[in-house]
């Protein structure tokens, strides 16, 4: 699914990285536990989370996540926005809560990760 369609579907506001809206992801992962994100997220996955601290950007950087959706209308600090910009990570925020945001994307055809295939390593 294109990041642009995700933005439209979730009625989300892009906070940084507009130039990457044409990029495409294969799956989504919704989680507030960064170790789980590190353990399970594979390539071309968009992260949905309620956390907006610098560690979310760091975590994304480690596993090459290039798009993050903040839920419940959360917006990070300028420092976090700058960190994302430096790393070419697109950030958007939606008013939906995590459960609903994930459900909406799922019903539009964006699947979750298949753990049967194993974690990334």
């Amino acid at each position: 699914m294109k990041l642009k369609s995700i933005q439209e579907t979730l009625n989300a506001e892009v906070l940084t990285g507009k130039e990457f809206l044409e990029k495409e992801v294969k799956a989504a992962f919704g989680c507030d536990l960064m170790s789980d994100v590190l353990a399970f997220v594979k390539e071309d996955t968009i992260l949905l989370t309620g956390l907006v601290n610098p560690q979310v950007i760091r975590t994304a950087e480690m596993i090459d996540v290039y798009a993050i959706v903040f839920v419940r209308g959360k917006k990070p600090s300028q420092q976090v926005l700058d960190m994302a910009k430096e790393r070419d990570i697109l950030l958007m925020t939606t008013d939906h809560i995590l459960y609903n945001a994930c459900g909406i994307l799922y019903s539009h055809g964006l699947k979750g990760l298949d753990l049967e295939e194993g974690a990334i390593v």
Partner: protein, 143 residues
């Protein structure tokens, strides 16, 4: 420089409770390994391992350092801190076990998956610790 003729030693200090800077060492290590042209899935494993190690030093210890030795054959990572050490390593290794305070959980850490993530990402994993002394994690990843 390419990965076929490297002999590189990197060293980073990790401060206690500094959650703005925490991750900078891992970020730097990842950048350097990318420049060396190392395979991206191997870099991912190293990034996860060093980042979890860095967070553990920042969260659970009094501070410490991470050293990375790069050779044409392998990446050798040592995370060494200044204490307070781990009383029961077997317990600490269990998935879900964590002594992280709430302030750390609010950052998204403290789910008790860090050490097992580090082990899973490494080809060789060794943790040694003594209560009242320090903790040393050694991870080797073949390239």
């Amino acid at each position: 420089m390419s990965k076929d003729n490297i002999g590189l030693n990197l060293e980073y200090e990790v401060l206690r409770n500094d959650f703005t800077k925490a991750g900078e060492a891992s970020s730097n290590i990842k950048k350097i390994l990318t420049q060396l042209g190392i395979n991206s899935s191997i870099i991912r494993r190293i990034a996860i391992a060093t980042y979890e190690a860095e967070m553990n030093i920042a969260i659970h210890s009094l501070g410490g350092c991470i050293t990375v030795n790069v050779t044409p054959k392998e990446i050798n990572i040592v995370a060494l801190d200044n204490g307070p050490g781990i009383e029961d390593i077997e317990l600490a290794m269990q998935e879900g076990y964590s002594t992280a305070p709430n302030s750390v959980r609010e950052l998204g850490f403290g789910a008790g998956m860090g050490l097992s993530n580090m082990k899973r990402c490494s080809d060789k994993f060794k943790i040694t610790s003594q209560k009242g002394k320090n903790t040393r994690v050694n991870m080797i990843i073949y390239i």
